[in-house]
């Protein structure tokens, strides 16, 4: 079942609250909405993965694409509260060295 992430704006920060699955199905349905929400006023995008237990390559692709795009606009991306498994996956891909990733254990990297 598709679980579209929730988007909220707080000053210059766009908060993306992801649900249990952050996979091809969710990405396909919400990436357009995400792109529309990144206006000139947004300097930071925060992905909250507190509830996320499954992140697939499409989800990772979107996170990195967002990071690369925000970088070009002198903005930033943060990924918060990832589970241990997801943190390990992002580490394997060295993404914890490029993006600010916080695990639920409280490790801060990037």
């Amino acid at each position: 079942m598709s679980e579209i992430p929730l988007l909220t704006v707080n000053n210059d920060c766009l908060m993306v609250t992801c649900k249990t699955n952050f996979t091809a199905e969710e990405v396909h349905q919400f990436q357009g909405h995400l792109l529309d929400s990144i206006t000139d006023d947004i300097s930071k995008v925060v992905f909250d993965l507190t509830e996320t237990t499954y992140l697939d390559s499409s989800g990772i692709g979107l996170l990195v694409a967002c990071h690369n795009s925000m970088n070009l606009l002198d903005g930033s991306v943060e990924i918060r509260n990832v589970s241990e498994n997801i943190y390990r996956l992002l580490s394997l891909m060295r993404l914890t060295k490029r993006i600010n990733v916080t695990s639920t254990q409280g490790d801060d990297h990037g």
């Binding site: 390559s57 795009s69 996956l89 891909m93 060295r94």
Partner: protein
Amino acid sequence: MIVEDELTSSIILQKVLEGYGYDTIWARNLTIAGNLLEEHDVSLMLLDINLPDGNGIEWYLNYKSNHLNQTFPVLFVTADETSEQKIRGFDAGAVDYITKPFDQLEILARVKTHLRLRAAYERLTELQSERLKKLGNSQKLMMPHPDNLPGASFAVQMKQINHAGGDFYDVVQTGTNLWDYIIADASGHDLDTSLWTATLKALFHEYATVLNTPDEILQLINKSLLKILPIHQFFTILLARVNKKNGTVTLVSAGHPPPIIISPHGEVSIFDQESDILGMFPNAVFASTTLNVRLGTRIFIYTDGLVEGFEDMQEGITKLAEMAQKTMQLCVRKAIAQSHTQLQRLGSFSHDDSILMIVEV
């Protein structure tokens, strides 16, 4: 199927439909309807809403959630012409309505229309499936069979969920005693993903020469992919170069699950190193290792679909390493078949494509 408790209504519907040449099955309540659906292949259902053992709309919602492959169209039968009732029915997934008292011509017209639509949909699905199969076959042709490269000493097992996917492998002889093996996993699960693997094959064959080190090969591929891949698309890759003359193996990883090395004596090494994915960063850093290996050493390289079905991917990798050790005495073909089967038996139920390759030095 006609699901209708009123005898008169059910007889009218049966006579109208059978008079036109259709076969009908009658169920006077929802329980009987459910049982009959287990035994019969139904093309269309006329479903009364108010039945003695329940509401037709709620029953249909429940039936659909428990039978995700259900494809027959449902037309609700009712005396209630209110919009609210109709909206409820359409929201539940009904394709149309038939109201009482019945109009014979209207019943026939609506049934015929929806049967035609269903036939067209099924034909479209069939055509799509045939196209995907053809694409999958073409994709398989891009990947060499071990029998065609006996000098490469490898075995491979591939599983594709849809006929064409983003997992890919290739083997190239880059020098007299030099072999390059590549396993790649493209992000995403669309049809486009399988088409990008063709691009990767072309790039691999262009750059995999004795003039380029394995790390340089990936850097060159990365540079090319950055120019052409969509912004969300990437690959993870493991490249292994075996030098049979001097007994070395060079492993270069781009965000890929770690390769497993088994020595002839059964010692296991898992090369777990952080590295960037391919196609996303111009200043990508790949992890590279060169090992001196003995004759008979085996290298296990695979895509994440093989191990991510376990609760923890690390568990899957550990299990694969155990299987690699246990099957050391078998020839590579038997080793790969047994490893693959055992992993599935132990719980590797991924919804992703997977490749397992064993290279024997």
